[in-house]
Symmetry: none
């Protein structure tokens, strides 16, 4: 049995009451003295718990008057069950993002999928047909849990050829998309009460995965200049987080890129504090002017960076192929996690994907895709600038992170937009602590220029109507 | 584009060749001049690489005659890498089962996979090719998280037609194999310190999944007569377990089937104590005499049973398709768990599989497969009975659960068998608490009759040699 530190037990006690709604948003917490005597612990223990909860933004302090429950402190929506339903408690958080995508609308700005019209479907299909002749027992065979050997060799050669870094086959694991990669990492390295650093804003599904493992999230703000390394270091020192999840290149949702100097320093911190950096590099290939800095992974001599590179997204998203790169020791554990998750990515998908790694044609496709996406981005920016929205123009990726007028209630905005057949991702979904922030994420990858123009015009009307 | 120092890249180039054995122990490395011109780098860069490799004992220098590959350079590397290993704690349990499968042997009795020669690979491949013409944007599209609508409809019709029970489309979730189904159920309903009932012996990967969620396992013994319902009830009362995982039909590993009367009572207990029954029904279709009793799921009016039916196993294991059936409320949560796990099973696999649900040809394949497996089972039983092993002959499934002589150390037996090129699953792996029990699981699905005969004869020799 693990011995949970006393202050941690006090934290749990408080969080539980916030989650069940017993202590409501904005209400004052019992005083340190009261709580200490109620729980039979030292006052310093309660004070430490309050400080931890303040850092993780469950509570806030008001001068002299004490501690209060933060608004939206409760990420975990309460589950209601009506009379005829099985009375079962689920640990799953409501995933707002997939709910948003599920609504069919005319102007889909919420999804950062590539418009299928921009994908080389036809010649890919013809190729995949040949795969069956090449591997007659393809459908009758399981792939190794770690991934098809030929595909792993292919990835190793690919990174050598296009990125000029050598990666041993022992360091590669194939996953069914980056999503599964994050999930397996969480399964292997994160458990109840572990601290996890996460870039803020961030990819909302990563938040959901870590919370589901019982982790406590500590947001690290990402700006156009990167992270505050002082903050990173002080959190690593104080909380000893198991890992730091980040998307440092054409970041989702902001589009920012962590500068090269910081990359080296982040690796040093990771090593010093034995904290794994999870580098989700989904947008590396979508740049408009020049290629982004080398992955953080390439600066890591000691094995503290896990690199996720989703591959099929820009070519054949239906295949769901991602390369996870890490130190062989970590891979050994991650393969076991992969075995629990699904026993291996289907062989068909891996063999079908193999072609793209070696094909010049695919490289030409990527060049065309970059241009098409740049045109769409520019169309969106042009329309937004006419309407006086604010954002930082990204040098790559699929999204704009747009600031709304400060008076605007973001939830209302989302609903009004949906009424106009427009879907957007509201800022709070991208916030690790689900705080309400006056930003929205708009993806320019799914609609063509004309649709983008129309959609933004309509969205502007929604914006104006809510400004008061 | 990468910022890895050039000399480091040269080191990697050399290490790779040493590791693959291309440059053998004791052999002379190419001269600095040769290598520099081959790689297009400065001679000083190569010199620096040689010095680094010398320090890390990959190579040694001989006066004037150049550099040579160190003996045991590869071992050296291994020792060194234990020093340099990232200091990270992993929550993953050693999954012995996948370790066993990884060893290539002549007599593979450990895996309950179907011999690929018994699968209809050829006509399936031809069919899948047509799928691409039917769905031109197949590779460019994500499937809905819950599963492809057409396939879900197909499953609903299939259960109606062949099993005569109506299942609403809202109650169906598609997962990538039953393994993923169990993993998602654990993700949604089990967390640290929750109690989980589990049949004993059981499917070892289920044990690993629940332990990874931090659950406490309570084994429920399965005998030829089913469970002790008194034990089930007393555990449910005392521990309030979140769920009861079981494989009640042609059980893995024993082959036993929970009788019909117990099925109804189990549902009543589940409802009374609000405990989910997870019914893993992977072997339902593999019966030798008559079809098994109806699934427990079909007796459940209140939504406390989750039903897992792995489908592709007997037709196209490479596709990895499983139907998870449950009350729509549970499905709603499980879909969110599926979104976290991988955002949806690849569309290609779902569309490719669709055909089998409606094809008469596949039904004929299943009939032939049953006969082939029965012959293999009988071949194994005949040989075992000549050698006076003990087991209960199962009416379906893929495994025999064979008792060894009581004096035998099961771990020793496993190792001895491996030395004879035979892989078996030792009983302790199937025990939820990893206790050592004098049983082994032998699968008859992977080898033909002749191989089975030879393998059992060899296995008997191992058995005799250990009896003392």
């Amino acid at each position: 049995m693990t011995r949970i530190p006393l202050y941690q037990q006090v934290c749990d006690y408080i969080i539980q009451r916030i989650k069940t709604g017993e202590w409501e948003e904005g209400s004052r917490l019992p005083s340190i003295r009261t709580l200490a005597s109620q729980l039979g612990v030292n006052r310093l223990t309660v004070l430490k718990a309050f400080q931890v909860l303040k850092d993780s933004q469950y509570v806030y302090a008001k001068d002299k008057s004490g501690y209060y429950v933060q608004k939206n402190a409760d990420n975990q929506k309460k589950q209601q069950s009506t009379l005829n339903e099985p009375k079962i408690y689920s640990y799953i958080k409501n995933s707002h993002l997939s709910d948003i995508h599920n609504k069919p609308v005319n102007y889909m700005f919420s999804t950062s999928l590539i418009d299928p019209k921009l994908l080389p479907n036809r010649y890919l299909s013809e190729h995949v047909k040949e795969v069956f002749d090449q591997y007659p027992q393809l459908l009758g065979t399981y792939a190794p849990v770690k991934g098809d050997k030929e595909l792993i060799k292919g990835f190793s050669a690919y990174f050598q050829k296009y990125y000029n870094f050598y990666i041993h086959e022992e360091s590669i694991l194939i996953t069914t998309g980056a999503q599964q990669g994050i999930d397996i990492i969480a399964k292997v390295f994160v458990q109840s009460r572990d601290y996890v650093l996460i870039d803020s804003p961030t990819y909302s599904a990563a938040v959901d995965i870590f919370l589901n493992r019982g982790a406590q999230l500590l947001p690290i703000d990402l700006t156009t200049k990167g992270f505050s390394l002082e903050q990173v270091e002080s959190y690593m020192k104080k909380y000893k987080p198991k890992l730091f999840y980040m998307n440092p290149t054409f970041h989702n949702p902001t589009g920012y890129t962590v500068p090269t100097e910081q990359r080296k320093q982040l690796v040093e911190l990771a090593e010093r504090y034995q904290c794994i950096l999870v580098e989700d590099d989904s947008f590396h290939e979508i740049y408009f002017v020049k290629a982004p800095p080398a992955p953080i992974f390439t600066y890591d001599p000691c094995g503290y960076v896990i690199y996720l590179r989703s591959f099929s997204k820009y070519i054949a998203p239906g295949l769901r192929i991602c390369a996870l790169l890490a130190h062989p020791i970590l891979i050994k554990w991650l393969v076991k996690g992969k075995a629990l998750a699904d026993n291996g990515t289907p062989l068909l998908n891996q063999k079908a994907f193999l072609y793209y790694l070696t094909s010049e044609r695919v490289q030409r496709h990527m060049e065309k895709l970059r241009i098409a996406l740049q045109l769409r981005k520019e169309a969106m920016e042009k329309e937004l600038s006419l309407k006086q929205f604010q954002w930082n123009s990204p040098a790559g990726g699929l999204n704009l992170w747009v600031k709304l007028h400060e008076d605007i209630n973001i939830e209302k905005f989302k609903i009004k937009a949906l009424e106009q057949q427009i879907s957007i991702v509201p800022g709070n979904i991208c916030d690790p602590l689900a705080r309400s922030i006056p930003y929205i994420r708009l993806s320019y990858s799914f609609l063509n220029e004309q649709e983008i123009k129309e959609g933004i015009q309509l969205l502007n009307e929604v914006h104006e109507s809510l400004k008061v």
